[in-house]
Symmetry: C2
Subunit: 790 residues, 2 copies
């Protein structure tokens, strides 16, 4: 424990001379295919002298990381065979797409999933041409690449994804290449601490390979430019056992890498065997090799290999600077000696091909990397048995999320492939029922008075939304199920991760051999309207605006108004596939509206008239009062109460929206209401007062092309807030009952002097509220004690 091994090149002979020769050949083959993908559209075996007509017009992609990843992949193949490992490969620098494509091609999986890309000269030509080409494949480790669960387009999440993949997969080893560029990101810098959250027996292992190739796009990397001593201390401090492999001479580097991997795998297997589950010091590899290794050395006087200039396309082989670079390219490709690697037909020679693992042991074919293949549906308890008894609309609940907590508790009890993730908020978010059946998984020290901590548990909590989201994504991508619970405002921390995951889901749904994976379920609570302890910084309902920008086939947004609706929605979301489901719900005691049966119908429709709250049954309404979200629903019903009492002749229709995207047209979202249904609900000409949980403009954006859009007046959060009562928050944003009544009257000239008088009353109420709250620090009794009475 605590020591470091430097596997210096040349000191070990892990490989026999023949193994060394074959390993190097395999690596050269992968490098050859990588360069081919970047440059060629013809003459893939260089049977004739290279000409400009063989070259792609647009040369797009990244060479720098590629040879290092080819080196790693080749050596991982060796230990998979030697130890019969169940291993997948996560490419942090996923822009090294040529490497993963080349390797899955060499091992045969690529041709299995893309039969047109055959293992011969014609197939090679197609393989090269399609890469980073219009109508072809992405330049990254995208969903199109077999064996990939991580595109690596946005850097930072490879290690979190890897740990998520390893959870509950005790036999799996996730080899994760972390680029030294990516290692500078925040999410990656904290992801090293994931080793405090991995159970040595119940979960699999993660083998990080920190690839110090020294450069980013045009800068050196931090970790490559600190002292060896600091680097070693850093990873010891993170709790790892670093094994160093450093150099640039292929032969000794092969020996060093083989020795380091033997050591790492042996340590992992030993840890898995140990009876003692005290947090082990897992091995990791620090591989220092040149960026653009084996590529051009110096071009036009600039250093290329071992420099940032090898990041993308090292030789610009175009018509204008052409022939000279064409020759360099040919020399470069021939330096791998393709004739020794591929036979005349373009097939990898058998002795070399034999180095690849077989069947599902191939990293491109491992079913864990096509998670839907292993996916088992959740066994969900009957959610209706957790129903709140709503004898009449408006009874006070215990907090909607609190009710859902018991459903989640039993879902955890019944499923060993379901986990809950959150940044230390599961209790704060009132989901503590789950701790009746499980604990937080925690391998660091446990002290007296700690609660709900154990080495194994189904709740993952670390104060990093990035980690929670990354772990969960890795868990889902390998076919399991989960829920992220998060403070609403701070889900923005993972906006970009959500974007990337939604993009992954979209593209993977277009890849025929990819199976659907379980949905990403996000429960947002501690919402904008209830930030008693924290105030303005904790108020931001804008994640929904981001979500609805993503592809409609992928995203779903629900705002259940009470606990029974939340149960119905939660049950639906947990059972769904290949979506991002966002649920927004309150954790504070609040009124309950619907019986379980009513909730089921309401949630199935996604949007309904609440006829028990309306009085327009006999006629057309004079006004539609719509609401979406728990606090807006309460304020709307309170406003409706006032209007019905004070202006009993007024015909009011109350509409509640659970499924936000019902508001869009069917052409914009699969849940969208047809115009005739929308118009039947909202009328084509009556005023609509819409109280919305989030930023009001989102409702306009969703309804801009509806017939009655010019009559929709939306109230919502408009960036006004502080530490204050829930009701005062609605007043600050003019979404309170009094403002809603005034809004209605403004749009109902027919209410005449009665309306004007009521509006004045409302203004007095607002003044009274302000005075009371400043004096007593809480809401007026009529607010605190308000109950729905119709």
């Amino acid at each position: 424990m605590g020591n470091t091994t430097t596997v210096a090149p040349g000191k070990h002979q892990a490989l026999t001379a023949e193994e060394l020769s074959l390993t190097d050949a395999y690596w050269r083959a992968a490098n050859y295919l990588s360069v081919g993908q970047l440059y060629l559209r013809d003459n893939p075996l260089l049977k004739e002298p290279l000409k400009m007509e063989h070259i792609k017009k647009m040369q797009l992609g990244h060479w720098g990381t590629t040879p290092g990843q080819n080196f790693i992949y080749t050596h991982l193949n060796r230990v998979i065979n030697k130890y019969d490992l169940n291993m997948i490969y996560v490419s942090g620098p996923g822009h090294g797409g040529p490497a993963v494509v080349a390797n899955t091609y060499l091992e045969g999986t690529y041709s299995e999933v893309y039969p047109a890309i055959t293992q011969d000269e014609e197939g090679l030509k197609k393989l090269f041409t399609q890469f980073s080409y219009p109508g072809g494949v992405s330049s990254h480790a995208s969903p199109q690449v077999p064996g990939s669960i991580h595109e690596g387009g946005e850097l930072g999440y490879s290690l979190s994804h890897s740990f998520g993949a390893a959870l509950d997969n005790p036999s799996l080893i996730v080899a994760c290449v972390v680029g030294d560029g990516e290692a500078e990101t925040g999410p990656l810098a904290t992801a090293w601490h994931s080793n405090k959250f991995l159970h040595p027996h119940n979960d699999g292992a993660v083998l990080p390979i920190l690839h110090l190739n020294g450069y980013k796009i045009s800068n050196p990397t931090v970790l490559a430019r600190i002292t060896h001593e600091e680097l070693e201390q850093l990873f010891l401090g993170y709790g790892w056992h670093p094994l160093f492999v450093e150099g640039d001479d292929p032969a000794p580097m092969h020996q060093a890498m083989a020795a380091a991997l033997d050591k790492a795998v042996t340590q992992i297997l030993q840890i898995k065997k140990n009876k003692d589950i005290t947090r082990p010091r897992w091995p990791m590899i620090i591989l220092r090799s040149p960026k653009g290794w084996t590529g051009p050395q110096v071009v036009n006087g600039y250093q290329i290999e071992g420099n940032f200039r090898s990041h993308q396309i090292p030789l610009d082989v175009t018509a204008t600077n052409g022939e000279n670079h064409l020759l360099l390219l040919e020399q470069w490709m021939k330096s791998y000696n393709p004739a020794a690697l591929f036979d005349e037909q373009g097939k990898l020679k058998p002795a070399i091909a034999a180095l690849a693992p077989k069947g599902p042991r191939r990293m491109g074919a491992n079913p864990h990397a096509n998670g839907g293949m292993l996916m088992k549906r959740l066994r969900l308890p009957d959610y209706t048995q957790y129903a709140v008894d709503v004898r009449q609309p408006g009874v006070t609940g215990e907090g909607d999320v609190h009710v859902a907590g018991r459903f989640l508790r039993d879902a955890i009890r019944d499923n060993q492939h379901f986990r809950i993730f959150g940044p230390d908020e599961t209790v704060s978010n009132k989901l503590e029922a789950v701790f009746e059946v499980t604990n937080r998984q925690w391998e660091a020290a446990i002290a007296p008075h700690d609660e709900f901590l154990a080495p194994g548990g189904r709740v993952m909590e670390m104060l990093s939304e990035h980690q929670c989201e990354g772990w969960l994504e890795g868990y889902l991508l390998t076919g399991r199920h989960g829920l992220f619970n998060c403070y609403e405002a701070f889900i923005h921390i993972v906006d970009s991760m959500f974007n990337q995951h939604a993009k992954w889901l979209k593209i993977s749904s277009e890849v025929p051999w990819r199976r659907e994976i379980p949905s990403l379920n996000i429960l947002l609570t501690s919402t904008v309207w209830r930030q008693d302890h924290n105030g303005f910084t904790h108020q931001d309902p804008g994640f929904l605006d981001l979500v609805v920008n993503k592809k409609a086939a992928i995203v779903r947004v629900y705002l259940p108004p009470d606990a029974n609706c939340l149960l119905s929605v939660m049950n639906h979301c947990l059972g769904s596939m290949h979506y991002v489901n966002v649920m927004v719900a309150g954790k504070h005691p609040s009124p309950q509206w619907l019986t379980m049966q009513e909730a089921i119908g309401h949630c199935a429709r996604g949007i309904s008239i609440w006829s028990w709250a309306s009085n327009d049954q006999e006629s057309d309404p004079d006004i539609v009062m719509a609401c979406c979200g728990d606090v807006p629903t309460q304020e709307t019903l309170a406003a409706v109460s006032i209007l019905r009492e004070q202006l009993p002749d007024l015909k009011i229709r109350v509409i509640n929206v659970v499924d936000l995207l019902k508001l869009e047209k069917p052409s914009a979202h699969p849940h969208g209401l047809p115009d005739k249904d929308f118009d039947a609900l909202f009328t084509t000409d009556k005023p609509i007062i819409f109280a919305f949980h989030g930023y009001p403009w989102l409702i306009h954006r969703l309804t801009y092309n509806r017939a009655n859009n010019n009559n929709i007046h939306v109230r919502g959060y408009k960036e006004e807030g502080t530490v204050t009562t829930a009701f005062d928050m609605t007043v600050l944003n003019e979404m309170d009952r009094f403002h809603l009544v005034m809004d209605a009257i403004d749009r109902l000239p027919q209410t005449g002097s009665k309306g004007i008088y009521l509006k004045q009353q409302m203004q007095y109420k607002l003044v009274e509220h302000k005075q009371y709250i400043c004096r007593y620090g809480e809401d007026m009794p009529e607010i605190r004690n308000w109950k729905w009475k119709y």
Copy 2:
């Protein structure tokens, strides 16, 4: 170098007995005021027995971190006096608002900026009552707190902010308390590496104080539960010299903290004096003290002090469980012996008060923490001298950002209080001209073939958008100027940081004694439409949707269509105050439209009819073709060319939008166009085809309440993309010239059979395009060679 000092309690006697006694008294006074803020609304000196009527009805705030921060603040005061330090205080766990309020009150600054909060019994009553109270002050280290540049509501950015504050402030020491909860976040985990980017002479120092109080809301913290050895290795690996202060007995802890701070300050002063500027190992302090230190021990059988249960309100003193807890509260407050701290009138006793620094040396009064006080305007070069010569609309430019790079170069040359920040993209984003006059600041090792690296430089690059944004925010908050240049898609990584900064700007603009600070300028380039190397993962223009949700007074969004417009916009933004300015611009060669004079006028208006491209001068238009963004402008003008050529009778008006928020009403945004002006531009009844850089719905959201809103048809990015040509990207998203022509014809039935025929031609063109690009991997010559000809 490389060694660690443990300052064990009791082994040092840095304080005399009297100093110890006074220091402890000062700390107790701060703790007393902190508890008072959480609970009391009357009887602030406990002159009479505590009754329920003295207690706040809603007790909201956080105790856990507060006593530790009071301890730190007290000890920082001592070294400020002893060494005459210029120091500010950054509270990472800014939810410990009671601590910063209490301390700035004790040192006198609070009463200076809030004269009603006097240093007597009445003032104490007000101080207590206002805290976390409706109409009062936030529970966090918000802009309302003097001396704060960091609210700490969202955790993770304290250290980046601190380093930003230290840049170019050679005499400043930023004491930064990092909570062990916050330390788990990604941004904080990578921010420790900021020590590789701080010049020992030109910049100030950052003294991090990692506060290990062991718990978050309901979990222990990772760093408090790893071994001491690992903790030490971790921070040695990060390149710091950690000084440990650990314990819970106040007297020896005072001695240990004083000794550690003496050591840390001495080391910092020595580093500043050293001639050798090789990256030093800066000191940091690791303070391990109990959460909720000096608070209640055990309540209702639960451990409170030293446990997560002290995080917020440790005693729930309400009417229902009341009297018992009331007594506990009284005992707790009296344990600080207030009679020994405050005189009969409620004023801190002189001997204790003497411990506070004086005047601007007080951390609450340090002008660096009210950045606008020290702010000097930028001396900007005349931007028109960088103008592109546009002899006729459509000449090909060199890349708009590339042109702006020369303006930025000279801005850097002329200003020592201006910096550029970016994640290794300044060259990739074509701003390399700046390296003619400066370098990237880099204290890690420098190797042969590195470019533009030096220990001092005005460009800050690390592959962490969080770091870049956090550094820049800290730089701005202390009154300096800067620009963040970022790939458009990855600005989402800092969505949440932007949110928090926009909230800070909003609240601070409402605080009378806060001066305005320079704007946060964000240049987004490498945009959605040009992702040749990277494809789908790098395509997301949705940051704008997020930005426009924030308070209108704060946010500005510009999409200059060409280089001259970018120059004008950039000049305006760099000179502005207290905004977030988002500029979106292209880096690839693209057509130039306006002369400098035209650009000045166009940008001043923010939106204009481009009459040289229109043919409706003599009459009303038949159709309005609007565009916003460089690629949409190009496609719109290409579409207009086709329409004018093929349907010469059609009257077309071309409108270009630079200032996106012109589209809103004046009631929604200060830049909003009055309805009459909007209607004069867009007509009230003619069809509008709007090509937009971002997600199309944003235009609908901004224009939903305009007269002609139902006639606006928007094309933009709709999540379709891959690695392909720029033109093919527009085709995939149906924003290309051919689709725009078809869109126009669909809305112009009067074009009759000619229109139908032209539409067919456009469909053929699209097929031809697809075939060509799949075959040749580049766009058809007619696309590549297209030129505006009118």
